[in-house]
């Protein structure tokens, strides 16, 4: 077995490893979007935030030599883009979905523009922890090389779940998302709550982007994100605005995304591109299954523009 020839076991193992690796950006973006949407706003611009985050993380990591400063820079860039979204949305008669789409285009465009000089150089990458030391099968070891950001995300999900229930900020965010009138009647500024929630969401999405450029795939180029940002927004709906379900859904999407490469590695090459489309097919299926013209989604924050 030491030669690594483990036959068809490669596929589930690669899917597992892929699930862990590919899911990290999904996880961060969806947790971020979860915060934003629970406050009653949809930020579709997170795709742009993700790419901007990836670019700024790569740039800062390259300039300073510290990938962690890169992660921080990505988060701050994301928070800034979140503030921009929230700022525009707080103007009267502005639709958050339309603003999100324009910010998505703005973010990706700006990242490509600013990131041109970063395609060539190599930046310091994020470290990974080897959880596969006990095995001498290379595939197992590869699958279990887990990045610290993934672990952070896994810890963050239950923390958010707890925070929505038991902290002042969690309660305020939910109030703003469920009934803006109630929040106003208690003297809270709904716009401020949503501004902060959108900034927090952008911060996490930016960090999700830093994972793309600093760990997997681990370089900066214009084809870095293949719509993970926008898929993660759909994933929040699938996860019923529950951070724990966001975690499981992210893993499922990550696994689906790893299916194509995994099958290719065991020699199944026909339909490679079809398998690569698995996450998008999954998104479509989920949307079709969970949506009905006859009822509104359960668990949806009542102030969300898609449920009103």
């Amino acid at each position: 077995m030491a030669d690594g020839n483990i036959g068809l076991w490669t596929v589930p193992l690669a899917v597992l490893g892929g699930a862990i690796r590919v899911s990290t950006p999904f996880l961060f973006v969806s947790l971020g979007e979860c915060i934003t949407e629970r406050a009653g706003r949809i930020n579709l611009g997170l795709e742009g935030t993700l790419v901007m985050g990836a670019m700024s993380a790569y740039g800062i990591s390259y300039l300073t030599g510290s990938p962690w400063l890169g992660v921080l820079a990505a988060g701050l860039t994301g928070a800034l883009l979140g503030a921009l979204h929230a700022g525009i949305c707080s103007l009267p008669r502005v639709n958050d979905v339309a603003v999100g789409i324009s910010l998505m285009l703005f973010g990706t465009g700006l990242a490509f523009f600013l990131g041109k000089p970063l395609i060539e150089p190599t930046a310091a990458r994020l470290p990974a922890i080897d959880f596969g030391w006990w095995s001498d099968v290379p595939q197992v070891r590869a699958a279990l090389r887990i990045n610290v950001l993934f672990l952070l995300g896994v810890v963050l999900a239950p923390i958010l779940f707890w925070a929505f229930k038991t902290t002042r900020w969690g309660l305020l965010i939910r109030t703003a998302g469920e009934s803006a009138d109630a929040a106003r009647a208690m003297g809270h500024s709904v716009l401020m709550i949503r501004l902060r929630a959108t900034m927090a969401g952008g911060f996490l999405a930016g960090i999700g982007g830093s994972f793309l450029s600093l760990f997997y795939p681990g370089s900066w180029n214009e084809g870095l994100s293949s719509g993970q940002g926008i898929t993660a927004v759909a994933l929040v709906i699938f996860a019923r605005w529950d951070p724990m379900l966001c975690l499981w859904a992210s893993l499922a999407f990550g696994g689906a995304a790893a299916l194509g490469p995994a099958l290719q590695s065991v020699g199944v090459t026909s339909g490679y591109h079809l398998f690569n489309a698995a996450p998008y097919i999954l998104t479509l299926l989920i949307m079709i299954i969970t949506c009905s013209p006859k009822r509104t989604l359960s668990g949806a924050p009542a102030e969300l523009s898609i449920t009103r």
């Binding site: 002042r168 305020l172 009647a185």
Partner: protein
């Protein structure tokens, strides 16, 4: 409660002096004076648009009055936002619930505090809440989600929330509009006891004379932004107060009930419909309405009435069951509605029966716009026919609009409903379905709408009237049924109806 508390521990009075509030060229309040004595139950009466809400919002700091002062416990205070008012011990219970439906009662109560701890220790908070509730006249289930409790319990929660926050001056904005008469008496009776014990002062906005007579000490009446009268309730009759509210305006006289009941026009058989969340809203409901008869459906809001009307109006698909009109199967399409001369007065007419951005004339023609004389060949519209028809109806139904081309959304609620009335009742009617047709309208509009509904009945229409206003139902209906949890649970002739009996069935007992 505790001496060091910054808010007063017992009832105090509030006065508004020479309040004037202008919004641009419009004067909503004109030199109004209001004096609520400490430890009293004060009623603020007035029609919609009389300035009641504006006045209390000035007191609560939502609006900054153009002129005038607020005196709290005889001291002049500057209240520039609701937080200032809260800090002075003023609290308000709104007409629309301000509880968050997706959260539990306990979460809602803790959330309302100004000092919500950064991390909430739920075990400790629940203990404190239980201790607080044990001193209160009514109880609420702390762990239930607000969306799962009844309207009566929600209203109790709203009031408890104010007491929990140690507010000693409560403003209640039409607090009983969603309650059964029994629940209303229970809630107001308990508040009355707290007032008598000197713990509370209450200012209640209402238009129900029964509640004013039964619970209030004093009353202030507003009309069109001006003080129209005030006095001790014990020295006034409902007629006196009504005269203060309406002034010299002439109301439409309702025609007498005439004619015989005819054949069955509308027949609903074991109808099942779901609400937006997928829950069962209308459950095996069967019902018949005959020609020349008004059948009233009573019930607390949220018992499936809305969904029933939506199915009849074609806005919602039924899950199962059949509807027959004049013996023929009915699926609420345009052709059937025209053939059977169906008319609809849905609730919230601007949302459910009008296109807000289109003109009054277009909205009046919505049902017939592609038929002669409005259109030639089904597609070439004749604008002058629209205008002619609209001008005639605007005149006949006393719709107050600048021109027939004004967008209907610019009209007041009463005039929107008059325009819908003109469209729906301006021709022969065989079946009329009306849902809360007078909600939020002034006396003149209410009298006119009631007269038109009665006239339609006398001309032989079968009328199904869904309403949350029992007085309206008792006045108009021939037969009254009570709807509870999607089912009809009680039926009586309106002439022999017993208010307590109806109230009991509305509450599901």
């Amino acid at each position: 409660m505790i001496g060091e508390d910054p808010t007063p521990s017992s009832a105090f009075g509030v006065e508004a002096i020479a309040m004037t509030m202008r919004f641009g060229a419009f004067t909503a309040l004109d030199n109004v004076e209001l004096k609520v004595r400490p430890g009293s139950f004060h009623a603020l009466l007035g029609e919609n648009g009389a300035g009641k809400s504006t006045l209390v919002k000035c007191i609560m700091g939502y609006y900054r009055p153009t002129e005038g002062d607020v005196l709290i416990a005889e001291r002049e205070r500057a209240i520039s936002n609701p937080r200032d008012a809260h800090a002075l011990g003023l609290g308000m219970v709104y007409q629309h619930f301000t509880l968050v439906p997706a959260m539990t009662v306990a979460e809602n109560l803790v959330l309302a505090r100004d000092d919500v701890p950064a991390v909430v220790n739920w075990a400790k908070e629940k203990q404190a809440l239980e201790a607080f509730l044990s001193h209160m006249p009514f109880r609420v289930p702390l762990d239930a989600k607000v969306s799962d409790i009844s309207a009566g319990e929600r209203q109790k929660c709203e009031i408890l929330k104010q007491l929990y926050l140690k507010r000693r001056f409560l403003i209640l904005d039409e607090p009983t509009s969603v309650l059964t008469p029994g629940e209303a008496d229970e809630v107001l009776g308990m508040l009355r006891k707290m007032v008598e014990a000197g713990e509370l002062t209450i200012l209640m906005i209402t238009h129900k004379f029964r509640e004013v007579m039964a619970f209030a000490d004093e009353v202030t009446v507003l009309r069109r932004g001006k003080l129209a009268g005030r006095g001790k309730v014990s020295e006034l009759t409902p007629d006196d107060m009504a005269r203060m509210m309406i002034g010299a305006e002439q109301l439409t006289v309702q025609p007498a009930r005439t004619g015989e009941t005819g054949t069955i026009r509308l027949e609903v058989d074991r109808l099942v419909a779901r609400d937006d969340a997928g829950g069962l809203a209308v459950h095996d409901l069967s019902l018949t309405v005959r020609a020349g008869e008004i059948v009233g459906i009573a019930g607390v809001s949220g018992n499936g009435q809305r969904q029933l009307v939506e199915v009849l109006a074609g806005q919602r698909e039924a899950e199962s069951g059949t509807i027959r009109v004049s013996g023929e199967a009915y699926s609420a399409n345009r052709e059937e509605m025209r053939r059977h001369k169906m008319s609809l007065l849905p609730e919230e007419p601007l949302k459910n029966a009008c296109v807000g951005g289109m003109s009054v004339a277009d909205n009046i023609a919505l049902r017939e716009f592609d038929r002669a004389p409005f259109a030639r060949g089904g597609w070439w519209l004749n604008r002058s026919a629209f205008r002619q028809d609209a001008t005639a109806k605007i005149d006949r139904y006393k719709i107050k609009t600048r021109t027939p081309d004004t967008p209907i959304a610019a009209l007041s609620g009463g005039n929107v409903q008059r325009a819908v009335l003109a469209r729906e009742l301006g021709h022969d009617v065989e079946v009329l379905i009306a849902a809360n047709p007078c909600f939020g309208l002034d006396f003149a509009a209410v009298a006119q709408i009631h007269a038109e509904i009665m006239a339609a009945r006398n001309r032989g229409a079968a009328v199904l009237l869904v309403s949350e206003d029992l007085d309206e139902l008792l006045e108009l209906s021939d037969r009254l049924v009570v709807m509870f949890h999607g089912q009809l649970t009680y039926e009586t002739r309106a002439g022999e109806a017993d208010l307590t009996e109806i109230g009991r069935h509305m509450a599901g007992h």
